[in-house]
Symmetry: C2
Subunit: 703 residues, 2 copies
């Protein structure tokens, strides 16, 4: 392959060179001439000399060998020009001209013609409809972008020329250097695959950024990238065009696995980092610029201000892969020796507002030796004494010992500091979130808790450990001194708020017949259709299921009587002194399990929680929350906020749940809690909700 010609040609011809400064043909020539010394040959049919160089009427007239021809002429004459290049045995060609595939059928035809000519002549062809290439190390700008990137170790391959220019321009301002830039254009022959193949072994390139709109060869892309990412990180931003283009081939399960999800899955498997926004793309570039190529998950935060450090801590806590390390006792002792007593010696290490650079120095000297930390995020806010430039210089030194992520927050006051950072090969992350997001993206799906080398596998033991931890958490509520309100009191209280607790209290087993008859008569199902539940009501029985105090699915009085005996026996066995005050007989209601709960917050007072019951609450924490008092519209909004809302609005053609009835309960509980400050907690669990009803099946009120 002669791809090398796109980055370090000895001789370049610009076909369509122009003396008009507003023309692409001028920009191309100007950029080439402005770079390292090479043999540059303008080809122009109107000018005899451009930028002091002799212009040729045709490439045929040039006697020297030409490594690379850059073509910027009208699309329709490109084929004949390319034929001339072939005759001249030019090895590599960039077609800048637009007016090919992107304009429709005629252009597609023209592009095919061009590809055929290149194929027959063995020309490696970049474009058409592209910006060209830039090599910051060989100082070549074979593009019409008026940008001279800083030399660096990142290659940038882009299917959008404009995005390429914008990123290169912004990068210039922020100290990010590049090895090579390739604007792919329409990819008539050479594609991202060819350039990736080349970059894989390119010594100047340590990391690769790609902007992709469409992939032609998915599996080959995966295979190649899997190879590359073993040594060089790849960051991809993919734009959605192809999603729309390929919607037609999607079938019904397509909604679960749209093409975009497949693309992301493939990238993940190939070790590629996929980002969604130019902002993330750019922040990843910053990480790569400072040589961070592998996940850094265990962090120290060093700061001269509390507020931003707290926010950074919150962001790290919320991150899926990052954590703040616990500083070793030794490190803390050392810090105490060199920092003022008002400083914070935990992580974040706060060297407080009057910190001069010497205090950053003293802290960093100790912190870079902390073995368990992967990196140090250094926060700096411009306060009265802050020495921004001197601190920036320090970071440039200490980053040789441990990765340093600078986050200087400010404007004009810190400008000189930022210059110092970039002059020393570092970058600045504008806000803490920019750094955290980039580190998170780099870590991919690595979990916080996994050891690095175990990150790719959850074996059974770990799974078990995981579940133990979860249980551990559940076991450790603060000791409570709350007592449970009796069922009768609860029922009375609820009645005042028009909240019905279904069922009939029964004192004696012999009263079951009448109670069940009464329930059945008032029920829509009539005397026969009902299935019943029997529960013991006892101040000594809080967790009914565990005590065997509930029997379900009772279809007759006989079954209910048997259940009565079983409940009594079970309680007697498990808790001999427990007093059963009543038994509660209810019809079993069906529907979706809902929980509605009330708790009091120290600052805001009564709050009401809504959620899908059972496993949804426990596993997915799919709940929403409001502070009482809650209006009906607010309650409805609250219901609609849960992720699983379509479980309530009717899946698989089911009738939608009566949302209003649920909202009513929320409003009433909120009102009850507001008017009864002595009540500390309420749990309605479950409420069974259907298209017609919302029945409170079990309730626990704590005072």
């Amino acid at each position: 392959m002669t791809i090398q010609n796109f980055f370090n040609p000895k001789s370049v011809a610009v076909i369509g060179a122009s003396a008009d400064k507003n023309k692409v043909g001028y920009a191309l020539l100007f950029n080439l001439v402005s770079g390292a010394k090479r043999d540059i040959y303008p080809v122009s049919i109107s000018e005899k000399e451009i930028l002091g160089l002799k212009a040729y009427a045709s490439i045929k007239d040039i006697s020297a060998e030409i490594d690379l021809a850059v073509i910027a002429v009208r699309a329709d004459i490109v084929p004949s020009i390319l034929e001339e290049c072939a005759a001249k045995k030019v090895q590599s060609v960039i077609i800048i001209s637009a007016g090919f595939k992107e304009i429709g059928a005629a252009g597609t035809e023209l592009e095919k013609k061009v590809a055929d000519i290149a194929g027959r002549a063995g020309i490696t062809l970049l474009g058409p409809n592209c910006l060209g290439t830039i090599d910051a190390h060989t100082d070549l700008n074979a593009s019409f972008a008026a940008i001279k990137p800083k030399a660096g170790q990142i290659a940038f391959v882009s299917q959008s020329g404009a995005l390429g220019t914008a990123v290169l321009d912004k990068a210039l301002a922020e100290g990010i250097g590049f090895s090579k830039f390739i604007s792919l254009g329409n990819e008539a022959t050479l594609s991202e695959i060819d350039f990736l193949q080349y970059l894989k072994d390119d010594a100047d390139t340590k990391a690769i950024l790609i902007y992709i709109e469409q992939l032609s060869a998915g599996p080959e892309f995966m295979r190649l990238c899997s190879e590359i990412t073993k040594t060089k990180p790849i960051v991809v931003i993919k734009a959605g065009r192809s999603v729309r283009g390929q919607q037609a081939v999607m079938s019904h399960t397509g909604s679960l696995a749209p093409e975009d999800a497949v693309f992301k899955a493939a990238c993940k498997q190939a070790g590629i980092i996929v980002v969604e926004s130019i902002r993330e793309f750019f922040n990843m570039a910053k990480l790569l610029q400072i040589g961070v190529m592998k996940p850094l998950q265990k962090l120290i935060v060093l700061t001269n201000a509390g507020g931003p450090a707290v926010i950074t801590t919150d962001l790290i806590d919320a991150s899926r892969s990052l954590s703040l390390i616990t500083l070793s006792t030794e490190t803390k002792e050392q810090l105490k020796k060199v920092l003022p007593p008002m400083a914070a010696f935990n992580n974040p290490v706060d060297i407080i507002g009057d910190a001069l650079s010497a205090r950053y120095d003293a802290a960093l000297k100790i912190l870079v030796e902390e073995k368990s930390a992967d990196a140090i995020i250094v926060l700096l806010t411009p306060q009265m004494m802050t020495e921004t430039e001197a601190t920036a210089l320090l970071l440039a030194e200490y980053c040789k010992k441990k990765p340093i992520i600078p986050v200087f927050i400010g404007g004009p006051t810190i400008a000189k500091g930022l210059e110092t950072l970039t002059a020393n090969g570092l970058v600045n992350f504008t806000f803490p979130k920019d750094a955290i997001e980039a580190l998170d993206n780099l870590a991919g799906n690595a979990s916080k808790i996994d050891e690095k080398n175990k990150a790719t596998e959850i074996n059974k033991k770990e799974t078990e450990k995981l579940s133990e931890t979860a249980t551990e958490k559940e076991k450790s509520p603060a000791p409570k001194t709350l007592t449970m309100m009796s069922f009768a009191e609860t029922a009375d209280l609820f009645k005042k708020y028009d909240l019905t607790l279904p069922g009939v209290l029964v004192k004696e087993k012999s009263d079951l017949t009448e109670a069940m008859k009464k329930i059945s008569e008032s029920s829509a199902n009539g005397a026969d259709g009902n299935v019943f539940t029997l529960k013991a009501i006892s101040p000594d029985v809080v967790h009914k299921t565990e005590m065997g105090a509930v029997k379900l699915n009772l279809k007759s009085v006989a079954e209910a009587e048997l259940a009565w005996e079983e409940i009594a026996t079970s309680i007697k066995t498990k808790k001999p002194n427990a007093v059963i005050e009543d038994m509660l007989i209810q019809t079993m209601v069906s529907g979706k399990e809902i929980i509605i709960g009330m708790k009091r917050d120290a600052v805001f007072g009564a709050t009401v929680l809504f959620g899908l019951g059972g496993i949804f609450t426990e596993a997915l924490k799919d709940t929403s929350l409001r502070v009482a008092p809650i209006t009906k519209p607010e309650a409805t909004k609250m219901i609609s906020e849960i992720r699983g809302i379509n479980i309530l609005t009717g899946l698989r053609g089911e009738a939608p749940i009566d949302i209003e009835k649920l909202a009513d309960i929320i409003v009433k509980i909120s009102q009850l809690a507001t008017e009864h400050p002595e009540i500390k907690e309420i749990d309605l669990n479950p409420v069974m909700a259907s298209s017609t009803n919302a029945d409170i099946v079990d309730v626990r009120v704590m005072i």
Copy 2:
């Protein structure tokens, strides 16, 4: 209240004024003198004159009335100084000095003393341990921050001085103006509530930013903010300190409703916009700077580059509240008249790379008249012809007709354009995501589909509509020409990959006895413990449940035989020509419902999907995806990725699912799909997973 004194005092005394440029007492005086003309009185025990002003040894020596005293002396002498202020009848005092509550018990004692003195003397007291106040309209800087903010309409109240300085400094660079800045410090007496109350009626303030670490009075904060947000938006960033502080009061349901969630819920109810990062905080400030105070959800994107526009479209599609409008036919027609044919006339409107400012002008003139749009996002990338400054000037004009959100992406090349934007009261959003995120935050929980005035309520009708839409979606798969592989073939194929389909195929009803015996003998439950399922196997029956082709819960041969009849009758009724090839008798297995599916992607080939079955898949789309071939570690990783993973790792003390067995199935399906390209889709739905087994209960293979 005399809070007005903090913003427009006629006379100010600086107690602790200093001639040493490194001292706070110098900075305070310097900043005051640098502002609008006021009577400024330095009080110093060592100097006779500072910055050309006569210095007094004590405030008592000043004969004029003092509206505001700013104290920057050692903490321990602050009480006596404050007594002197009281004697002098100073109305308002800012205590800059640190060394109070924040240093522990002794400081808390001192702070209480100070608060008492202020209380008795009727002094309004800001601080201690604060930066002071700034008023950009009265040109007062009563702080030691060396920043002169641009005058604007945003008030900024901060519990962190350093964060305040950093944001003000950064804002200066980005053209964001402020009305007032208040650094609250320790809030010995005046708190955020007092200043919010004041800002509510402050004519210079149209919007409020607050950085909060701790709230003292939750309900009062809510009540007041609910009032304010009716006319002035409030943006809050809350740092997590208090979460840690209040962990002790959390009980077990606390994990569902941590204090932070309560804070967010309360803010939501009060109409406050809560953000998590300084970056979002800052981008919200940008929106407020350009006068965007109410949700703008329906957007037009105008661009000179395709790539960034596609990314912006993706971000808007992914947003919970924003959407691109469909341009009216009229608008499109008008655009066609003034734009080149290569332009894109849909939304995004792409005026392509060679657009001069005149083309932006022509497009904007038309687009600002598009009634259905709330705002126009204008993307600009620096290309060869781009006129950044002229375009910036245009935006300053057109934003008078419709909100314009500028997103100029680049560095040095666009710097002049950004200056032009900010010089004209506009701002620039660095990346599309910055603008989208801010608009999303402003829209809060408003849904994309809701009309604005209905956004607060989902009534029953809408709920039903919602569910109809969902059904509509499910109904519209692309027409398929795939055929289903027979059960026997499927079983054979699966056997080759060591995948077992449980059950026995039965031709005649009379064979049931033997088949059930056979199954029972090989089962752990023995002959009696099993419960069976009977299914019809027929190429004509794809959806078994709908056709009545499945019977569950069969406990005896007699029940199975009855089921056989029922199935046969049901199918005959519903599809008279259907041929039942076999019946499949299986034991019913229990466990968690899992789905594993295979589909082929146009670009990447076979993909395998894993998810929790049933409602989890349908309602929550809780699935993960990989491209085949899949290794065992990758399969394990894939399983661990689902949100509801702890449903599999053992909730409520349940035994964890055997993850390895599930991973095995994924690996085998991936292998099968790789080696059998003729198979287009595989659905294992459900696989029943338990701590010991992973049984494929139903399978559908499409070729």
